[in-house]
């Protein structure tokens, strides 16, 4: 199938199409252009999300102090420059939503799945270019809706990124649960449609369009990660869609799926028989797999970047695939660990503790395999490599505290405290961001035909790496001290007065980290136009994308698509002069392919 389709398209794609500006840059069906669209949209949203976090960090470090910047950016929501508590909650909510969904799901997976799946498996394009284009534009629409929700009269959604009802269902409960919440829900519904179209496309492409010789056991780990991520998305995103739709029904059509026995603002509401716990189940059935939807592509990118730059095969290729599959399977049966104290039966707590702690095993295997890949390597410490190594570091630091939170007993006292915030920011936030940066630095030449400046990359890396630990390590202490998250300020309780100076330290690190991202932004934009022109295979990598010409055209390769003769990790193989052997080079006489 893959061979035939490849051949039959050959004539169509051997030379340039006549393309107009609109079909080339806006409504493009070329996966490479769509990848760039995803990346730039994702980065834009990322800067919005990070800017929001800096605003609420200022409030946390210097509570209820006036800042000119608040007056400028928040206007009537910061009277005399002092942030309003409702706006604080709105910023926290939208920061979470943007970072989790728009940056680390669409921006990361959307960019690199689109760019790399066809190029690394040897396909002319995605299985359906049209669906791919629609998927991007739905994503763009959902971003627009989310940004638009910032400007509605009563402010955007403010019920936390998990938008638990009844808080999110009742406009009487908080101002953000009015039009802002409606826009949030519609935006998410559109986003889910976009994700599903994209994920179906990825799965079909990987299954059907691999070039000759590209068996599943020769796929680069990036593709394995994107492929499995897409499957998790297909399984879990529809459940979130159902939760969002039921919540819309409760809000607008008077149903009682999630609501019962409510008295608010002096009025007994008619809702009867629903349960917010049902919403929690539906939400976390996506919500937990979602963190693996975020982290698996980052780990896939890391596998590729570490192997290439260590000039060494990734250690334990089969074990890596097995652990991706194990993580994917387990990720769908652990959602209850977000609900240990939600009032569900304690027996369920036991079950979810068991499945949750099991997930640490494949995660540990991955971490050990990365470390062993570095052992006796010849490490080329490019910025992408540094971000990948740092990803392993934060994945370990953040993952380990998961053993505490995944244990139902220990969760009792740290649940919903800053300990949780520190944990998930390290293990999925920072790690996935590092994956995104590693991917951008590594594949920038493929996307934009130019190199990024490495020294700016080093500065970006070191400032970010130091500040990331500077922000999130002390945060564990605030959580262990018992301070709940989503508090507008800790000064309302004298008991927490001694946490104020930790908050100042955290905010200072956060502001410096924010400034470091400007270095990245400058490097990114500057290099697109003025970066040094790249060679075809700058990192001397084995995967197929580097066999494609530097110039982009729809169809990826002139003439025939290269055939694959070996796995992607023949780095420094004994008996060869070069320390890399691209996948399309046939085995030498007498050379054995590794039995992996």
């Amino acid at each position: 199938m893959s061979i035939e389709s490849a051949h039959s398209h050959e004539d169509d794609h051997g030379h340039h199409h006549k393309e107009t500006f609109i079909t080339k840059y806006i409504f493009s069906q070329d996966h490479k252009m769509i990848a760039k669209q995803y990346l730039i949209t994702g980065l834009f949203m990322g800067f919005v999300g990070i800017a929001m976090s800096l605003l609420f960090r200022l409030q946390l470090a210097w509570p209820e102090k006036p800042f000119g910047i608040f007056e400028i950016l928040l206007g009537k929501w910061a009277p005399d420059g002092v942030m309003d508590p409702n706006v604080y909650l709105a910023l926290v909510t939208i920061h979470g939503t943007i970072m989790v969904f728009f940056v680390l799901t669409a921006g990361l997976s959307g960019t690199f799945s689109n760019l790399l799946i066809p190029l690394q498996i040897g396909a002319r394009d995605m299985a359906s270019g049209l669906l791919n284009m629609i998927s991007y534009w739905l994503f763009f629409l959902s971003c627009t809706l989310m940004v638009a929700s910032l400007f509605v009269e009563a402010g955007p959604a403010a019920a936390g990124w998990t938008v638990y009802p009844p808080l999110s269902a009742l406009p009487q409960a908080q101002p953000g649960s009015g039009t802002g919440m409606t826009l949030w829900l519609v935006s998410m519904a559109v986003f889910i449609a976009s994700s599903l179209l994209a994920a179906l496309n990825y799965v079909v492409t990987v299954i059907n369009l691999r070039t000759k010789g590209m068996t599943m056991s020769r796929l680069p780990l990036t593709i394995w990660a994107f492929f499995v991520t897409a499957i998790i998305g297909i399984v879990s995103f529809p459940v979130l869609l159902s939760a969002a739709l039921l919540l819309i029904m409760d809000r607008s059509f008077g149903t009682s799926f999630f609501l019962s026995d409510i008295f608010i603002q002096g009025e007994v509401l008619h809702y009867q028989g629903g349960s917010p716990v049902l919403y929690e189940h539906l939400f976390w059935f996506l919500g937990h797999p979602e963190v693996y939807i975020v982290i698996l592509p980052a780990l896939g990118i890391t596998s590729e970047v570490i192997a290439t730059n260590a000039r060494k095969p990734i250690f334990g290729y089969r074990a890596m695939i097995a652990s991706i599959l194990a993580i994917a399977f387990l990720s769908t049966i652990v959602w209850g660990h977000h609900m240990f104290i939600s009032g569900m039966n304690p027996f369920l707590g036991s079950v979810f503790t068991f499945t949750t702690l099991l997930i640490a095993i494949p995660s540990a295997v991955k971490a050990f395999n990365y470390i062993t890949t570095l052992w006796k390597g010849n490490l080329q410490l490019n910025p992408a490599m540094l971000f990948s190594i740092a990803l392993v570091s934060t994945f370990i630091s953040g993952g380990l505290t998961g053993i505490i939170l995944g244990d139902s007993t220990l969760d009792i006292n740290v649940h919903d405290t800053y300990f949780v915030v520190a944990h998930f920011h390290l293990v999925m936030g920072i790690s996935a961001l590092y994956g995104l940066f590693a991917g951008v630095y590594h594949w920038f030449p493929k996307m934009f035909k130019r190199m990024m400046n490495k020294n700016l990359g080093y500065i970006h890396f070191w400032v970010t790496a130091i500040c990331a630990y500077g922000v999130f390590f002390p945060m564990h202490f605030i959580g262990m001290a018992g301070l709940p998250r989503r508090y507008y300020t800790n000064t309302n309780f004298p008991y927490f007065d001694d946490l104020a100076n930790i908050n100042v330290v955290i905010t200072v690190f956060a502001l410096i980290a924010g400034a470091a991202q400007l270095v990245f932004l400058y490097n990114f934009i500057h290099s697109i136009f003025y970066g040094k022109k790249t060679k075809q295979n700058p990192w001397k990598s084995n995967t197929l994308e580097w066999t494609a010409p530097i110039e982009h055209f729809h169809g990826n390769w002139h003439g025939e698509i290269p055939h694959v003769h070996r796995w992607a990790y023949d780095y420094s193989k004994p008996g060869h002069d070069e320390d890399y052997i691209p996948q399309n080079i046939p085995l030498k006489k007498g050379e054995e392919e590794l039995q992996h």
């Binding site: 540990a364 470390i371 649940h415 004298p494 400034a515 420094s572």
Partner: protein, 354 residues
């Protein structure tokens, strides 16, 4: 002033980053800058990796030294010490693994920094190694899971206990109320639909036709007798809340439309806690901070902060709206005699609605 200084500092940091990058950029001869790491870069970055390892360890030690005293004092409930032990056992495992793996990761990054003249060691697989680091985590986690589940069952299964005191925790935006069963120690039926009865005096919506409810006592300050099991029944009238009592290692969500449960036995009275050495030093530190903050307030012509005295507190730990951060109730743990005396002085529901 501090804000101003910090902002200045930030601007300086940004400017200096900018300047350093400019210098680095200019110092590179144009022809050679391929933007791919060369041997010099590998040398430099490899060494920095080692420095970074020291930074991680340093930050860990510094945080414990500087902020170790902000952590919660020893637990004040029957199940608390079991919780704390499990926490420290788990923490020891985590610290050990963190220290060792970070060392390997960063040391290898330094040790094997690349040289163009060298080739890496081709080493793709080792089933025995994979088996080792699958089995060891499995054993460790199995032990932690079993230990954790044992403790969990101990804490969570609320057994029938005739002697236990039943207390309802009632949450609403943005305050807490507590209800005691009164003479019969049985809570009367309740529903939000009864909240508007008796001109709004029916504070938690007790069904006045249920005789069990008439002697119930509703209060805004939670009193608990030491050494007696308390079975909490949680309710909420509007949105999700969470009853979080960090000193007792206790937490349970309050869900509109259902009653949730949590039970524990307080073991230390408020007075005993105030005598605890950890608590004394924590309170002293907090009061020093409050004194400094007060000076600033006085300078601005505002009132000084009251000195802090330790009290147990019940916090809301589930986002519930704008004033989520203020939602609390004071908890007083006292001897049984003191408790009995206090509760006798409270009005019953029947008296209150008269």
């Amino acid at each position: 002033m501090t804000i101003f200084l910090t902002l200045i500092l930030l601007i300086l940091v940004t400017v200096s980053i900018w300047q350093v990058t400019k210098i680095l950029e200019l110092s590179q001869p144009k022809e050679e800058s391929t933007q791919i790491a060369d041997d010099d870069d590998n040398q430099m970055q490899g060494k920095l990796m080692l420095v970074f390892l020291i930074f991680i360890y340093g930050l860990t030690l510094f945080s414990f030294w500087r902020w170790g005293d902000v952590l919660l004092p020893d637990a004040s409930s029957d199940h608390g010490p079991g919780y704390d032990t499990l926490m420290w056992v788990t923490f020891s495992v985590i610290f050990f693994v963190q220290t060792v793996t970070q060392a390997f990761l960063h040391y290898f990054s330094y040790k094997y920094r690349g040289e163009k003249s060298r080739k890496a060691f081709f080493y793709a697989d080792n089933d025995r190694l994979e088996a080792i680091w699958t089995i060891i985590p499995t054993i460790v986690l199995a032990a932690l899971i079993l230990y954790g589940l044992y403790t969990w069952n101990d804490i969570m299964y609320v057994e029938k206990n005739e002697d236990a005191l039943v207390v309802e925790l009632y949450a609403q935006q943005f305050n807490w109320k507590a209800r005691y069963g009164g003479e019969d120690n049985v809570l009367g039926d309740a529903n939000v639909r009864f909240l508007q009865d008796f001109d709004g005096k029916n504070l938690v919506g007790i069904d006045a036709t249920d005789p069990n409810g008439l002697d119930d006592i509703i209060v805004q300050e939670l009193h608990l007798p030491v050494g007696k099991e308390i079975i909490f029944k949680m309710r909420s009238q509007d949105v999700l809340h969470s009853a979080y009592m960090p000193h007792f290692r206790a937490q349970m969500n309050c869900v509109p439309g259902m009653i949730t449960e949590f039970a524990f036995t307080p073991t230390k009275t408020t007075e005993q806690m105030r005598m605890d050495t950890d608590v004394i030093s924590k309170v002293r530190k907090i009061n020093e901070i409050r004194k400094i903050n007060s000076e600033e307030l006085i300078a601005n012509g505002e009132e000084a902060l009251d000195p802090y005295i330790f009290d147990y507190v019940l916090l809301c730990n589930k986002i519930c709206g704008a004033s989520h951060y203020t939602m609390q109730m004071k908890i007083i743990v006292e001897t049984e005699q003191e408790f009995n005396k206090w509760i006798k002085s409270q009005q019953t529901f029947a008296q209150f609605i008269q």
